[in-house]
């Protein structure tokens, strides 16, 4: 699922290749490059955050566990740094959290189709005012990942792609005020 994970973004390995038009020919692509949300994508990102939060609340037991962990860390004054801001993101933790989110979404009171559809919009829109796209084809020199190409993905790849994007870029915490750690208060 995760091919290359580093500060600022990651590459997603597809389980099934897709056909991509590149410089007059059709090529097989297996890797997508994902970068952090841009200014104009915030409303789509917050919509995704709503899905994640709603799913978490409806699966209260699982969510309570996650919350507890977060609270414990906050109590110790340790700030939770989203994966894309970490110098060396922990891939195993990322994979674990993505799998956890997928389970929560499946068990929660959330329309998965709508969740994927919102993710599609976020990843394939060329937002006005933005010089770059959030998602590009890594195999073919960064050509655009369009809505047509998203539709060509298998269900598993669509679901995992959107979920992993949410986890890596901490989408669920978008719009929340930043935590002031106890260290800063001293």
């Amino acid at each position: 699922m995760f091919f290359e994970v580093k500060k600022g973004g990651f590459k997603f390995e597809l389980s099934e290749p897709i056909e991509v038009a590149n410089k007059g020919a059709v090529e097989q692509a297996t890797r997508l490059k994902l970068e952090e949300p841009v200014k104009d994508s915030e409303y789509d990102a917050i919509e995704l955050a709503q899905f994640v939060t709603r799913a978490g609340l409806s699966v209260s037991k699982i969510f309570a566990g996650m919350n507890q962990q977060e609270e414990e860390l906050k109590a110790e004054g340790e700030e939770i740094i989203p994966f894309h801001l970490q110098d060396v993101p922990d891939v195993e933790k990322l994979l674990k959290e993505t799998t956890g989110l997928i389970k929560v979404l499946k068990a929660g009171d959330v329309d998965i189709k709508q969740f994927i559809s919102t993710g599609k919009r976020l990843l394939t829109t060329r937002y006005s005012g933005s010089k770059r796209r959030i998602c590009t084809i890594d195999d073919s020199e960064g050509s655009a990942f369009t809505p047509y190409l998203f539709d060509e993905l298998s269900f598993q790849d669509k679901f995992c792609l959107v979920a992993s994007y949410c986890v890596f870029f901490g989408i669920s915490s978008i719009g929340e005020p930043k935590t002031i750690s106890s260290k800063e208060l001293v």
Binding site: A21, G24, A25, V26, T146, Y148
Partner: protein
């Protein structure tokens, strides 16, 4: 056994789905032409000589689009992309996906725009033989 026709395909140019006027899409695969000539060997006897002619073995995709405000921008992009446009059209018929791929396509001619309430523009691409 009954069969279903390709009638409402999605047209994709350079990975972007394009909305076209229904029923306006036509294509040629770029088949190598076979010429058949006759030779007379006398006494009313005639034979045929067959030859293959590749001079016109190029594919062609023709379709119409509605004259919306974004059309000129799209046409300019395709026109700049000489020999590098890729056209795919696909239609899911029942459980099967019918797909045609045209690589190395160029927009030929200067398309004529018809400015009217139901205005359309016809575009013709030519390039490599159909895959």
């Amino acid at each position: 056994m009954s069969k279903r026709a390709l009638s409402l395909p999605a047209l994709i140019i350079n990975n972007i789905t394009i909305a076209i006027v229904p029923g306006s899409l036509t294509y040629k695969g770029g088949k190598i032409k076979t010429n058949v000539e006759t030779v007379s060997s006398g006494g009313g006897k005639v034979e045929t000589v067959h030859s293959r002619d590749a001079t016109e073995a190029k594919s062609e995709v023709k379709f119409q689009m509605r004259l919306t405000t974004d059309v000129d921008g799209k046409i300019a992009d395709w026109d700049d992309n000489v020999a590098e446009n890729v056209i795919i059209f696909a239609e899911v018929i029942g459980k099967q996906k019918a797909k045609r791929i045209f690589e190395g396509m160029s927009l030929i001619d200067d398309p004529e725009r018809n400015v009217s309430p139901d205005g359309t523009v016809e575009l013709v691409f030519q390039g490599e033989q159909m895959i």
